[in-house]
Symmetry: C2
Subunit: 411 residues, 2 copies
């Protein structure tokens, strides 16, 4: 792989970059090199305007009528249809609603009620904890009629068996960015008669996904990372079309009713994905996401991924020189095994990240020793990566060894 | 009760009104008489500014750091503390999170796991349907280990028995505005060893509530009606302090963990109300609500209620003259039995409401024959009510009898 070898070269690459215009659609803080887009994506001008319009022109002026005249009621489906091509799904298989946690609960509870004699949800030890907390809560609510088993990554495929009704995994590890083979694990689940639920929070908008092609059963994901939907923007869920009739969530509310405005006494699930809607959606958060999603009309995810690999390789290559200072790569070295962030390991990771933030390079820390840098090709430049690596070197050189002794390892 | 008897008198009353200045804090559409604040409250200038600040100054400029530096993380508790005095609760008993439906699920699932040998949730036939859909979903998820029984209003007290673990009611009927006696029903539930959950969606911000004084166990409510939080603004939930340790929701996620950022494998509920948090909250919707709640610092709910009764009585008195046209009062005639909206009945209710909306009077229709008018004293004037009654008379006089035959009853 050819990469720029000087800051000047980085700037030339940035001039030729297919996303140079895309960057202009973001309202960025020029004082920061922002490498935390996997925690909270940056603000687009479209989100500012779309939210203003919903608040002032729609809510303020047209009030309750906006649910119909401004299409609020259908936004969960409409935004789902915008996300569908990014994850390799059909428009009528994706819905935006609630939080990722609530959506995991809806899907896992639906799977629970269709489990037959199976009693186990299999997940990964070290999976994003909140996902597992949701599953554990469901198991407790079931009176331990089901159990949640978390096994190390290397054992997952082998541990899927006839007792497993659901495999729940995150395709990109939130710490190391290591990728799962989604196709193979999906096939393995199916070969044992289990269904699979993929949490795509760390990959949607960062790489191409192929849910239909790999025959994935279920998926969820958040929209405030690489989709730039804003803090706590609503999550999405995907249910493969042929499962939509047999599966109904255990958390049901009026927007998922087949006729919500008839106000009938008994719940009757809507046909299709609509049954996975919940209560009244937080429309202002939908507005910001709506604006941010418009960006994707003109974007080719293969180009996003290609630039992501370039930027990541550049960052890894330049930080490799710093390993004499206790820094090591926590992410896989091979691009094809890695998601869209780079994780480094350092015994003083917390202090190091604080020092970086003080210098205007924003990443984040995950205990005990991981520092994460998100690579967001839509608004990051080669020159940013070059400078971030320089600043990391400076910060490392100034770390106090006293703090090292006092704070490491974080327990 | 003395009421204005001419439009001129109404205008004099409006000049002396304690909420004349409050009205100026709303960004109202001057072309409308808005009587649908029980579906979606009006926009405040504070919500416009607070949302703009969160989007541009916080998200846009400070990005991920805003979770700490701008207090995003604590907003569920902070907004809960703002709502607490409006419902007669302590600050640490109220939390803002998710939707009303999700919050009902959290509480009902917590009660389910503490039910002992009891197996029944008792609710009202004709309760707001979505609440009952949530409970029905939970019963289905439990494999019918529990059941949901809905009985007519007059039978509720008598039907609470030793099989009942939870009574779930809405204090103001969403159609007729008829009030329950919250204190008596709470006592009745407790006398049978059951807990009670009150949905306060139609009363919070409209009248004084006394959850602690009546020893209510649980409550939920939405914030987009009389609290003006905006479309789908996040809901609140209340759990009496002494129940917070024993009760844990069946829907658990990282924000409810005792140490969310330690990312431990197993869920450990946070102490107190925090365990009732879910996934990452939709912050932009919190911002709008935050702005709207500031209004309440200077407002006495007794004055709100007093003006509400005046406006409602004026509306009922003036529309009573129209009963020759098939119109009748669906709400209780006595103020003390009525919430903060007035429901009328007409065989052509749907057409009548459409005709009113076309004339700039916005209320809503609930099948088969109810038209609702919300009385929101913070931004409604006596003159508005006077004119709305006149326009209702006009609309009635112009109703086409053909449509009557064709569309009534709505089925």
């Amino acid at each position: 792989m050819t990469l720029p070898t000087t800051l000047e070269e980085c700037k030339h690459w940035d001039e030729r970059d297919p996303f140079a215009q895309t960057r202009a659609q973001f309202k960025l803080n020029p004082q920061l090199i922002y490498l935390d887009g996997n925690s909270l994506g940056a603000l687009t001008h479209a989100s500012v305007e779309r939210t203003r319009a919903m608040i002032e022109d729609e809510w303020g002026h047209d009030l309750i009528r906006s649910w119909n005249t401004h299409g609020w009621f259908d936004m969960p489906q409409r935004l789902g249809a915008k996300i569908a091509p990014l994850i390799g799904a059909a428009a009528d298989e994706v819905l935006v609603a609630d939080s990722t946690s609530v959506n995991i609960f809806k899907i896992a509870s639906a799977a629970l009620m269709q489990r037959g004699t199976r009693h186990r949800i299999l997940t990964e030890l070290g999976n994003f904890p909140s996902d597992n907390y949701v599953l554990q809560g469901l198991a407790q609510l079931s009176g331990n009629a089901i159990e949640v088993l978390a096994v190390p990554r290397s054992e997952i495929a082998a541990r899927i068996d006839a007792s497993t009704f659901l495999v729940a995994l995150t395709d990109v590890h939130y710490k190391t960015a290591e990728l799962h083979d989604m196709r193979e694990l999906t096939q393995q689940a199916h070969s044992q008669g289990a269904k699979i639920l993929w949490d795509l929070s760390h990959s949607v908008g960062a790489r191409q996904l192929h849910l239909n092609s790999i025959k994935a059963d279920f998926a969820v994901g958040c929209t405030y990372k690489y989709l730039n939907g804003g803090p706590g923007s609503p999550a999405f869920l995907y249910v493969r079309r042929d499962l939509q009739t047999s599966h109904c969530p255990g958390l049901t509310a009026w927007m998922g009713h087949e006729a919500p405005f008839e106000f009938t006494e008994d719940y009757q699930p809507a046909p299709g994905m609509a049954r996975f809607r919940g209560g009244t959606p937080s429309m202002l958060s939908f507005a910001a996401l709506d604006g941010a999603l418009d960006l994707w009309d003109d974007i080719d995810l293969r180009e996003v991924r290609s630039k992501c690999e370039n930027l990541s390789e550049l960052f890894i290559a330049r930080t490799a020189n710093l390993t004499g200072n206790g820094l090591s790569l926590a992410s896989p070295r091979e691009s094809w095994k890695r998601g869209s962030h780079v994780a480094l390991r350092h015994p003083q990771g917390y202090e190091l990240m604080q020092a970086l933030i003080a210098r205007g390079v924003i990443g984040d820390f995950r205990a005990p020793d991981i520092i994460r840098f998100a690579i967001t090709p839509l608004y990051l430049r080669y020159a940013d990566i070059w400078k971030a690596a320089d600043i990391l070197g400076e910060a490392l050189a100034h770390l106090s060894p006293t703090e090292h002794v006092a704070r490491n390892p974080v327990t």
